[in-house]
């Protein structure tokens, strides 16, 4: 192993470790981000970090074909961010603030609908009104 190869090898290892740390920090923002645009920004950043990983693997293995993969991943990430921006614009401000983080994970489970039974006093439902018209 020549000196040049050793320099590149050590630098690749160090850069991989630093990229791992920044990847984990960005994932933490994706998990914690209080609003949807925060998560989209963090996902955009995540594609950038993965492009960096691909570049480091390209240096480590010597395949320059990985550059094309990195460019196409950048294109996909850009299009995804643009699509997310359009989605945020069309969705409107319908985000409810969540009191704690665990509700984020349980929010996908739909709650049973009991609104009609609790809010409406008996004898005023649509079926009762239809009967009264007859």
């Amino acid at each position: 192993m020549t000196t040049a190869e050793m320099i590149v090898s050590y630098a690749v290892w160090l850069a991989l470790v630093v990229l791992c740390v920044s990847f984990l920090l960005t994932v933490w923002r994706v998990i914690r981000g209080p609003t949807l645009p925060d998560r989209v920004v963090a996902l955009d950043m995540l594609t950038g970090i993965v492009i960096g990983f691909i570049a480091l693997i390209a240096i480590r293995t010597g395949f320059s074909l990985y550059i094309d993969i990195a460019i196409s991943l950048g294109l996909v990430g850009f299009l995804a961010t643009v699509a997310f921006a359009r989605f945020i614009l069309s969705r409107g401000g319908r985000e409810t603030p969540r009191p704690d983080m665990m509700k984020t994970f349980t929010a996908s489970v739909p709650e049973p609908r009991r609104k009609s039974a609790t809010r409406r006093p008996p004898g005023t439902g649509p079926a009762v009104r239809r009967k009264a018209k007859k």
Partner: protein, 114 residues
């Protein structure tokens, strides 16, 4: 001698790119609101991945690979501001609030001006 110089340049580019990515990630976690986080992600993050791509081009040492890496770098530099601007525009239009200690908001009466 030449290969040691090339390896040193590659190593510096790699470590610089990884350092910029780390700075962007720290900024993403430390900054107070969405619009300031966007600065960290779109500027430092783009420079990080771009420097790593340039390192691939320098390390390969032939012109086609370097040209492709340079094309990828310019592609990222061109697309990152567009996506960040679109996202900030959408979030501001919907009404996500700025940080409470922000000094000025020049987009506040944007709808009235156009």
């Amino acid at each position: 001698m030449m290969d040691i110089l090339l390896a040193t340049i590659t190593a510096l580019l790699m470590l610089g790119g990884a350092g910029f990515a780390l700075v962007a990630a720290i900024g993403l976690n430390r900054l107070p609101d969405l619009y300031t986080r966007m600065h960290a992600a779109s500027k430092a993050g783009t420079v990080g991945s771009g420097l790593l791509l340039l390192a691939v081009g320098v390390h390969a040492g032939d012109l086609p690979t370097f040209a492709r890496a340079l094309a990828g770098f310019f592609f990222f530099v061109l697309t990152a501001p567009i996506s960040a601007h679109l996202l900030a525009m959408a979030a501001h239009k919907i009404g996500y609030p700025l940080y409470a200690e922000s000094v000025r908001d020049e987009m506040k009466d944007y709808d009235k001006r156009i």
